[in-house]
Symmetry: C2
Subunit: 279 residues, 2 copies
Amino acid sequence: MSRVEVGRAERLAVLTARLVAHPSQLFRLEELAGPLGVARSTVSEDLATLGPVFARFGLGRIETLQGARGGARYLPEQPADATSRMLAQLGAAVKEPARVLPGGFLYLTDLVCSPVWAARLGQIFAQAWRPAGPTHVLTVETKGIPLALMTARSLGVPLLIARRDARVTEGPAVSITYLSGTTGRVQAMSLPRRALPPGSAVLIVDDFMRGGGTAKGLIDLAGEFGAKVSGVAVAVATATPAVKRANPYLALLVLNRVDEGTRWVDLEPNLDLTPAGLP
Amino acid sequence: MSRVEVGRAERLAVLTARLVAHPSQLFRLEELAGPLGVARSTVSEDLATLGPVFARFGLGRIETLQGARGGARYLPEQPADATSRMLAQLGAAVKEPARVLPGGFLYLTDLVCSPVWAARLGQIFAQAWRPAGPTHVLTVETKGIPLALMTARSLGVPLLIARRDARVTEGPAVSITYLSGTTGRVQAMSLPRRALPPGSAVLIVDDFMRGGGTAKGLIDLAGEFGAKVSGVAVAVATATPAVKRANPYLALLVLNRVDEGTRWVDLEPNLDLTPAGLP
């Protein structure tokens, strides 16, 4: 790196690039100052400039921590109207008649696995649940994984993936059985013993919820580790049954009905992003 | 948003935040200029300033497209020495004795599922394979999904997840069977018919490769859709067998041996990120 001095505008761009590329990761001031060849105090001033700019343009929040362990991190967030527009756009995509499958199922795989949509929805989940302070995100294979990963990335916490069967390559595991409402069968889920320390706070993320049996299974699994559950976040929940077995939960879209004959999908975006089913 | 004029330094920060938060996504100039309340030509000048700054600080590349459909996108990339340091750090983490499981397996789940490591490795995969021009990333459930998602996100292409069994909720599917070297059994994989258009170019991503049987299965599955395969990217490959059934491939770490008794893990980072096994 050459020794040419870096102007303030360039510094703001470099700081922004580093912070935004690593959501929720704490950077110490010297880590930020070092490559720029400036003092920590200069970086402090630059961060104080960036905060209001990020707020004004709805780009999220820059959190600065004072003191010896001082530093800064970027919390990806967006204004409520941006979230509403996003959910309206998602709702329109889900309503495409070609998504209606034989049996009245909906093809959502391309959406919930899309890097762009997973990032958008994961950020919405993270913003809604951050106040609950989850230390881990938990999902069960398979289709919830992209959403869960992007939620964990936005929150800056690890992702745990429960498996349908315990694999030898993951070592000793804790298993539970649960009743799946979708298949009507007893199913198993497991998580490596070492995956979740006691006292953790778990946010459960999945793509779809009907009765909440699978999410309830994940709650029970987390309980076996002595973890508490912050709640459940799903992309789509069915309107019925109205009472789910897993609470509190937050669904971004509420699915009223799928008419296989006319390929009509009746759903609505959930505009109140306060988790439902709070005790 | 208030009508206060935005200075150049603030504009550079806003442009950086928007580009970096959406890797490989093309923004039209008017999309970038609109919220800033400036002319397209001003944004063009700002992008011309940002390009060299990004290059100088190893933050990646800003690609600008001229003309009526003109715009800009951010390609996440890093210098070779940053990649080397990252792989040395990953190698050290993999060598932790506590990772050695009964049977001489290695516990890697927390690393390959970590949002931070998945983002880092996905960016390395994307940078190495971008010249091959993949249009889709393909993996098979489960542990390769986070890496595959972050690779797809870096490349700005969709992610496809092959399932071990065809689910009714994904509609008509194409299935293949293949011989898994790890289990010694014939296994099945499937992908929804609508997932992959003919003429696609597929990059296969997985966490681990021994003989390459699973990756070869994914190559065959892509072939059923009339897709060509750019290659295979894995986090860890075993040194033996030296000749894999899936080529060309790129492994970030090469695993020589795991000694269960002494919990000794013999591996080395692959410092030549040119895919091996090119014809």
